[in-house]
Symmetry: C2
């Protein structure tokens, strides 16, 4: 029976479809509990969860389903950790800052200060959105109408904005032309038959929009002249002229800041999603499932191993409070572990000291008019520049509304460090001064801002864990094993660092590990 025959017989059973790879095996969203374990093994066992971010709350939520008695200690007055939506009234005082900020965003306007997108293949995040009833909408990650702006470069394409689609289609056109030309010559050492080459050239012709002579002479894919779009009557439209290949190559657009991440990064390919109304819909929905289980404004100050489990001290209303449990699940970001008095093993302490966390910052800018939509035809997506602002994000919600909040910078590493070191007022000034080069409407339309530097945000201390091969080898193993009765969870205990899916998958792994261990006890 050929595969085709098989598929044609629509009586295919689930098992046979599985065998042919046409269906997922078990949903990756199901907890992998030991076959010999019993659900009731967890009943009444006390677990202290440190941190009411996604990892901590999902752990408590799933352990709760298995009967465990969880208490979640959260230093902040809110849940969600680095999943945080900034709206009117949001307050924050960063480390080293005196006055603090309160957002003046208008009702209905917001930006996601931390996690901001859900890849379509992050099934566990999507599973929780489904289970918790969090409605989703698309996040526009890869908008060809966004701009590139190479500041301070030389040549015709520097110090001006150009559309991503102009750059992409020109590069695609020229490279297709060059390869078509090369394939025409015997020089290319290749295994391709004449027919294969013909097919490849056909592909290139379409890919690059080459003319009949296989030359790239521009394409309407890059757009039409402003006053000469196709229309009614005698208006066929007049396409824009391509840039020159050498101009493009010398433009500086090969720098990583300009990368086409939608093609280059698996996690950023279309489709990306976001909760309607802000990313904090996810932690808020989880929080609801944990009513009475989370103690807010509870800063953990001590984490001890005891004979039968763990002992934790937290500060509440200026006074220390002590709690004990059989297990502890510690989801604190590693920078927060550094200051904790603890019995943690030396390898864990060294991981906390040496696994780097990214410095990163964002600013939300409220404008009284959505000029990027009205004037620039940009509905969501990202503009990229080598200036300190690095990226401008246009909101993927509230299209065609009156006002809007865009993200005026999203930067990383040394750029984020420098900008984060500025005063709140200086950050705003910088975002406006650089942004105006791309959007001249900034000065007349700007209203107010709210900025954050994650490495200065209390209880976070950084954006996310950034492993390289060496730190992954040296420090990671200690974080994915239990240290006595203490387990670690959070994006830093996964290969999905920076992603909410990392937090969720670490929660599952931890729940599975604890429940398997408890199952071993009860067997004895």
């Amino acid at each position: 029976m050929t595969r085709r025959d098989f598929i044609n017989s629509t009586s295919a059973s689930y098992a046979s479809l599985l065998a042919w790879g046409m269906l997922q095996p078990a949903p990756a969203t199901t907890l992998n509990l030991p076959a010999n374990g019993r659900r009731e093994d967890g009943k009444g066992r006390k677990v202290l969860v440190l941190g009411a971010g996604l990892a901590g709350m999902a752990t408590a939520y799933e352990l709760g389903k298995l009967g465990y008695d969880c208490t979640v200690l959260e230093a902040r007055s809110r849940s969600g950790g680095r999943v945080w939506t900034i709206r009117g009234g949001t307050k924050e005082t960063e480390i080293g800052e005196s006055n603090g900020q309160t957002s003046s965003f208008e009702e209905g306007l917001y930006f996601n200060g931390g996690a901001a997108r859900i890849p379509h293949h992050h099934q566990l995040t999507l599973h929780y959105c489904r289970e918790l009833g969090v409605p989703l909408q698309m996040f526009n990650g890869n908008n060809e109408a966004g701009y590139l702006y190479n500041d301070g470069g030389t040549g015709d394409l520097a110090n001006r904005r150009l559309r991503i689609k102009e750059y992409h289609n020109d590069m695609r056109g020229y490279t297709a032309e060059l390869l078509a030309k090369a394939l025409d010559q015997p020089g290319l050492d290749q295994q391709l038959t004449k027919e294969d080459i013909e097919k490849l050239v056909d592909f290139l012709k379409n890919e690059g929009d080459l003319n009949t002579a296989h030359l790239y002479k521009g394409t309407n894919r890059r757009g039409y002249k402003t006053k000469d779009h196709p229309g009614a009557g005698h208006k066929p439209g007049n396409m824009t002229d391509p840039f020159g290949l050498t101009d493009l190559l010398r433009s500086g657009f090969m720098q990583p800041v300009f990368y086409n991440v939608g093609d280059y990064i698996y996690e950023q390919q279309t489709t990306l999603l976001q909760p309607v109304g802000g990313m904090d819909a996810i932690p808020k929905a989880l929080e609801k499932k944990l009513t009475g289980k989370i103690i807010f404004n509870a800063t953990v100050s001590e984490l001890r191993k005891t004979e039968n489990g763990v002992r934790v001290v937290y500060q509440k209303d200026g006074k220390p409070v002590e709690v004990t449990g059989e297990f502890c699940v510690c989801t604190l970001p590693l920078p927060m572990l550094k200051n904790l008095e603890s019995d943690l093993s030396g390898t864990v302490k060294r991981a906390a000291d040496f696994v780097p966390y990214i410095k990163t910052g964002k600013i939300g800018l409220q404008f009284k008019r959505r000029f990027w939509e009205e004037d620039d035809w940009i509905y969501g997506g990202i503009s990229r520049t080598n200036m300190d602002i690095n990226q401008i994000w246009y909101p993927s919600y509230g299209f065609q509304g009156k006002k809007g909040v865009l993200i005026g910078y999203y930067n990383f590493y040394s750029r984020a460090e420098a900008v984060g070191a500025m005063s709140i007022a200086e950050r705003e000034k910088m975002a406006l001064a650089q942004g105006v080069k791309i959007h001249p409407q900034y000065p007349t339309e700007f209203e107010n801002s709210f900025s954050l530097a994650w490495h200065r945000v209390p209880y976070s201390g950084g954006g996310w864990a950034t492993y390289d091969d060496a730190t992954r080898k040296k420090y990671y193993p200690s974080l994915i094993e239990a240290d006595g009765n203490i387990y670690f969870a959070g994006e830093h205990t996964t290969y999905l660092t920076a992603w909410m899916a990392g937090a969720f998958t670490s929660a599952h792994r931890t729940v599975e590990a604890i429940h398997a261990r408890v199952g071993e006890y009860t067997k004895k």
Copy 2:
């Protein structure tokens, strides 16, 4: 003063920004009324508008603002023409069909039977959405997670589904490798310097995800193995293996049905938008502005030129009714003009006879589970195949809901003709039998369907006008001039055929032409 200095001085005036090309001149959305005309010139003048599609309603709406007295005659009991959303309760009886269909879609589920997407650069369509308060959301046109399925082909990649991202990233990788190799050789006749070539190879390395030897050996961009995605603990993930280049070339994926239209077609580039709740939100909002002006169930049967204007006969409740006006704006699709008794000029009649309209059809399939999201991680977007179903569209709304309606086929020309000639039941059977090859879940999850063949839909008679150079030259000119006091509007009178923006821009052009002419009268 350099451009850079200029931009750096943020005091740039509107006029100077215009001059530097940083701002749009006048919004393309403003009516271009004659400078010497007066708004009141139109007051009380009677205009008969034939058809309450977007072109007709926008014409009546704009003429109404200028004081004209418009009456819109609509053959159907609804407005919108080819802008039509199919929901539970929607009824239609196609030409040559006996029983008719009534949709059984569940509350909240729908598909757009005709116009289904708004390109971000269709400013006039977006302008009307803004002016009429129609909220928009993203339409996912280019989902890399969608499938390609080459049916009946030979080779390893035929008769199986593969992800668009697998095909794209492999082709990108191999072509980048081939060009990098060619650039390494002196054979390629080129104007590039050594430095330029280095930059180009650098670009290719990123574009194709080549290894350090500039070879394409696969990439995680195409995805991970099903059971081996990155996760918590010891799960770095294991990427899938690339297909072979010759397999890809011999796969048949160079056929136009598989084209990457998001890159190839300006109108289908990201970002695409759609009204929340269905495309008919646009005609419904226009209809509201024309309360009392539209006569429904009024089939125009005669269109005559008179000494002072026009005379129109329409059939209402089985009886002919005669109306007269100073002008007529005829927005009927050309296939509808053929059967009209009229004084239209010979050239217009010949245009109606010989401008081809595309045959095209869609079917909406309701499933009791959104398996494409749950099992396949597809949130909106399109799968493509060379089977008669041609395209499967996944809904870009209601993500993660319980049930869903996807578009089970969207086909054109001879395929649409063949499918349209089937009975309603046969169409459904065909859609399911072919669709199951891509989605094995079809048989267990299917609930009901609604199909349409636009060339058989009364009062439309086709999808949209399809000009080639010859028909554009021969017939188009007669449609964009007034025939006496009769003007023509609709997508067929533009270079934006098939698009709602065509209807709108033709309405603007017609209003401008009538108002200019009236201005000339009043000057005399």
